[in-house]
Symmetry: C2
Subunit: 116 residues, 2 copies
């Protein structure tokens, strides 16, 4: 099942969701941070700094700092890889899963309200 969506509806959807997030004054992530978070939760593990940097086409410090910021918010966590201690394994958290669950619901609700 593909999702039917026309450009104008798509823009209205982005508008509505963005408006809700801005007004909510809660967690405010950069677009890059958001992509990192979604990658961690939507794609199969393991996730490393290097892998995420390559996938997004950004430098490693960008990933490190995004993980710092989201770690402070308890949206992700980090562990050294026991097998190769140079690697850092990025893991999901309960709070991160909850945040994205609510975010997905917000999008769905916004989509349902879209004018015909």
């Amino acid at each position: 099942m593909s999702v039917r969506l026309r450009p104008i509806q798509a823009l209205k959807l982005w508008h509505e969701v963005g408006l809700t997030m801005v007004r909510r004054h809660g967690v405010d992530l950069t677009s890059r941070q958001m992509v990192v978070l979604l990658t961690i939760y939507l794609e199969p593990p393991p996730h490393t700094v290097r892998g995420l940097a390559q996938k997004l086409g950004v430098t490693k410090p960008v990933i490190t700092r995004a993980l710092d910021a989201m770690g402070d918010l308890d949206l992700v966590s980090r562990r050294r890889d026991p097998a190769d201690r140079r690697n850092v394994i990025i893991q999901r958290t309960v709070r991160g899963a909850l945040f994205l669950e609510e975010f997905g619901d917000l999008i769905v609700e916004s989509a349902q309200v879209l004018a015909p």
Copy 2:
């Protein structure tokens, strides 16, 4: 016609669109800037600094600076209102319209690729 969309698809859609925008290394707007831009293009004019600030629930300087940034990118323009010269009327630009048109198309394309 309402848009059918389930939470997991919604998150995948956000992921895909965000990934494309980050990789593109082009125009990189804040979430607030994006909401301002979409408001200007989707809602009926006239748009003022004060009106946008109220709608988004942010302070006026946030709007002024967002308009500065987007004005530098030629995504919006400003004119004094001849009737009441305290007001500033925010206007659309060709480049802004083109940018959002492409963005809408990107969302639609991403939606079509979503796995069932």
